[in-house]
Amino acid sequence: MTRRRLLLFLVGALGAAALAYPATAAAHGIVGRADLPIPVWLFSWAAAIVLVASFVALSALWTTPQLQSERLRPLFKLPDAVVGLVSAFGLAVFALVVYSGLAGTQVWSANFSVTFIYVVFWVGVPIASVLFGNIFSALSPWRTVARSLRWGIARLRGGRSEPPARYPAWLGQWPAVALLIGFAWLELVYVERDSPSTLGALSLAYFVAMVAGMLVFGVDEWSSQADGFGAYFGLLSKMAPFTRRQDGTVFLRRPLSGLAGMRVGPGTTALICAVIGTTTFDGFSNDAVWRELEPHLQSVFSGIGLHPTPATELAYTVGLLACVAFVYAIYELGINGVAHVSRRYGNAELSRTFVHTLVPIGFAYVLAHYFSLLIWQGQAVSYLASDPLGNGANIFGTSSYRIDYTIISFAAIWYVQVAALVAGHVGGLTLAHDRALAIYRNPTEAVRSQYWMLTVMVAFTCFGLWLLSAVGT
């Protein structure tokens, strides 16, 4: 089977499954969408019209590349002491997460570690990275410890601080892809996902593995290539209007311009597709389509002698990987189309060249999907911080606080989700247009290539909105 046929098969299989099982659509995070003034599917049409209008405006008015260089403006120098304080804070919070997971109550809603990992860390840090830049490079506890150890080793060696081994270039970001999918598997598939002790133990194991890798291959290389979270948050931080250089100077730059200089190596495309695909599966796994499909898949695995729990986990694993493959297939189909426009570049080059346009989409998916979780469950941190072990403590005097579900209406959440999706895809379209202007000398080719990228963006927008609207809790 050729690569192209395989892609079509993936798209077709998931599309056919979706068509075969019409969504009855209860809602996830948007329970009150019945109050919306127009049907949800019309939002998709409106979003598509916004994207087409953006495409026309970009093609006609955005005449020269604007985002191919960062154009940095120095703002101020961040003192080393501040970075040190932030690193110490990150390390202390990590210690609390591990300790509360292992020693605290095993009721997930009363334990600090579960809410912190799934809400603050998994949703809050990506948003902060897009707003303020790569804050995780300072907050990362494994990075802090590895840097300290490397500094100590360098002093013992008399100033030499080269890592003992070179990170293999062929490996690229594949370890990060595996770890990120592994985390998504833990969150969405594993039956013990809410167990604080499991999370505490896994956090500790991840910490040890990351520190060991950084000591062997170098802190920066390992954290940008093999650390799943370091690579993911680092990628998102390239959208930010701020960046910090080695000497501590903070620069202002055009938003999204950091993505143009993004290092694209083995596994980079897979990393971005994993972000979008795992978020897609998070929505899809609550959807009526999946609820109809999953028992059939599960019975296949039960038929080969597996117990119900592993059979369910295997069925969900297949679903998770299928969603990542589906996202990759959509992108590659679009790139295939771009390659048809001109004889100038091949598929592989174009795939690497335009992959940065998926980063805003990944963020849009994360923001749209987890916004309600962040707004509501995020409030739980206020009382869990006071009583991290769930043993009745009241350290900050906030343990009596409760989640206020009236803080935002369901309709408002829906509008934020739609706005996030549309804005993310307009951002992706802008990046793609800017890159097309930079690589195609012929304006007709540049414009035509963007019809394909428009197709990709509209497909991801409509699919994202359909997922949000059809998801049931």
């Binding site: 192209r4 079509l8 798209v11 077709g12 599309g15 979706a18 068509l19 019409p22 969504a23 659509a25 049907p39 949800v40 599917w41 939002f43 998709s44 049409w45 598509a48 087409v52 026309v56 093609s59 006609a60 008015l61 005449t63 020269t64 191919q68 143009a260 295939n336 189309g337 390659a339 048809h340 426009v341 001109s342 004889r343 100038r344 570049y345 091949g346 598929n347 080059e349 060249t353 890159r435 930079a438 690589i439 304006p443 007709t444 414009v447 035509r448 019809y451 394909w452 428009l454 197709t455 509209v458 497909a459 927008t461 409509c462 699919f463 909105l465 359909w466 609207s469 059809a470």
Partner: protein, 117 residues
Amino acid sequence: MKLRPSPRGALPAPRRWLRFAFFLSLVAIVALAFAAGDVGMLGLAPALLIALLVSRRRYPGARLLVAMRARALQRSPRRGLSPLPATGRAVVPAPRGGMLLARSLAHRPPPRLLLAR
């Protein structure tokens, strides 16, 4: 951004079965909406509609967009920001003699307008 041109050239036009798949999906969505009353899937229709269009190598409005871009390039506002008057006659002469010496010794070169006089 430097790219290596493809040695193989472009691939052939999108296959007919790809277009057929897009068309079939679109028909199925519309049929579901009208026959079964399930309008939720209509939200996917815009993507399929555009995909169907471009897979037929139709780029509606592309010529117009290119023409609009050319016009926008011609009246680029950057030209108005030039420190020289936009008459096209003001030519900056190459510094010679004393001016050349002064310029090479100066910490900061003289303004371009001064040189143009």
